[in-house]
Amino acid sequence: MKNILNDVEIEKSIKKITMYKEKEDLILDDLKSIFKNINYNYNCNNKDNLESKENDIINKTKTMAKNHSNNILIFQKNLQKYKDTSKKVAKMFDNI
C-alpha cells in the first residue's frame, strides 16, 4: 500500500484526540469519587462484593486510559516517522 499521511490534518486530529482524552481522564476520576461516596453511604452485607466489582471497573479505567494515551502516541510516532522520511527524501533530492 502507498504511504499517505496528511501531516497538517493529523496534527489537528492529535490535538482534538488529546482534548477528548483529557476530558475522559477527568470523567473517570469523577467515577472513582462517586464509587467512594456510594460505598461510604452503603454499608451492608454486600458492601465488599459491590466494592470488588467497582474496583474491577476502576482498574479497567486505568487500562482504558493507557490504551487511549497509546492512540495519541501511535499518531505522534507515525507523524514523526512520516516527517523523518520526508526530510530524508528531500535531502536525497538536494544531493542529486
Partner: protein, 186 residues
C-alpha cells in the same frame, strides 16, 4: 448496616450525568480518530483502524458495566427507601433483640397469670380496679408483640433485599482489558 438514601440518590444523579457525559466524550473521541483515517493510509493505519473498532466496542461495554452497577444502586435505593431515608441497624443483633422482647413478653404473661390466679371474690371494689390493670397489661403485651413482629418483618425485609442484591452483583461480569500492543501500528 447503614444506608443513607438521600446521599446515595445525590450520587446516583451525579453518576447519571457522568455516564451521559462519558458517552458523548467517547463517541467524540472515536469519531475524531475515525476522521483521521482519511489523512493516514498505509499498512499501519489499516491495522490500527481495525483495532480501533474493537477498542470502541470495549469502551461501550465498559459503559454497560458501569450501568449495571448503577442499576444495583437504584434497586437498593428503591427497596431501602421504604424503610426510611437513613437506616442504621446492626443486623447481627436480630436474634438478641427478638430474644429480649420475648423475655419481656414472658414477664408480662407471668404477671397476667398472677392476676388470673388472684381470688377477688371477697373484694368487689378492688376487683374492678385489678381487672382493669390486667387488661392494660394485656394491651401492653399485644403492643409489644406487634412491635416484635414489625422488627422481625423489617429484619427479614433487609435480609431479602441483601439476598437479591447479592444475586444481582453475581451477574455482573467485568471484562478484563488488555493493554494495546502498539508495535504493530508504528
Amino acid at each position: 448496616m447503614q444506608v443513607n438514601i438521600l446521599k446515595m440518590k445525590a450520587e446516583i444523579n451525579k453518576l447519571n450525568n457522568l455516564i451521559e457525559n462519558y458517552e458523548l466524550t467517547y463517541l467524540n473521541l472515536y469519531n475524531e480518530i475515525n476522521k483521521a483515517s482519511s489523512f493516514w493510509q498505509d499498512n499501519n493505519a489499516r491495522n490500527y483502524f481495525k483495532n480501533i473498532e474493537i477498542e470502541k466496542r470495549n469502551t461501550k461495554r465498559f459503559i454497560d458495566e458501569v450501568n449495571s452497577c448503577k442499576d444495583i444502586y437504584k434497586f437498593l435505593i428503591e427497596k431501602y427507601e421504604k424503610l426510611g431515608n437513613k437506616i442504621s441497624v446492626n443486623i447481627k443483633n436480630k436474634d438478641d433483640v427478638v430474644s429480649e422482647l420475648n423475655k419481656y413478653l414472658d414477664k408480662l404473661q407471668s404477671i397476667i397469670n398472677y392476676y388470673d390466679n388472684l381470688d377477688l371474690s371477697f373484694c368487689p371494689n378492688e376487683r374492678i380496679y385489678l381487672l382493669n390493670e390486667k387488661d392494660k397489661l394485656k394491651e401492653e403485651k399485644n403492643q409489644v408483640n406487634n412491635i416484635k413482629d414489625g422488627i422481625k418483618e423489617k429484619f427479614s425485609y433487609i435480609e431479602e433485599i441483601e439476598k437479591q442484591i447479592s444475586s444481582k452483583i453475581a451477574k455482573i461480569d467485568i471484562e478484563i482489558l488488555k493493554e494495546t500492543d502498539i508495535k504493530g501500528f508504528i
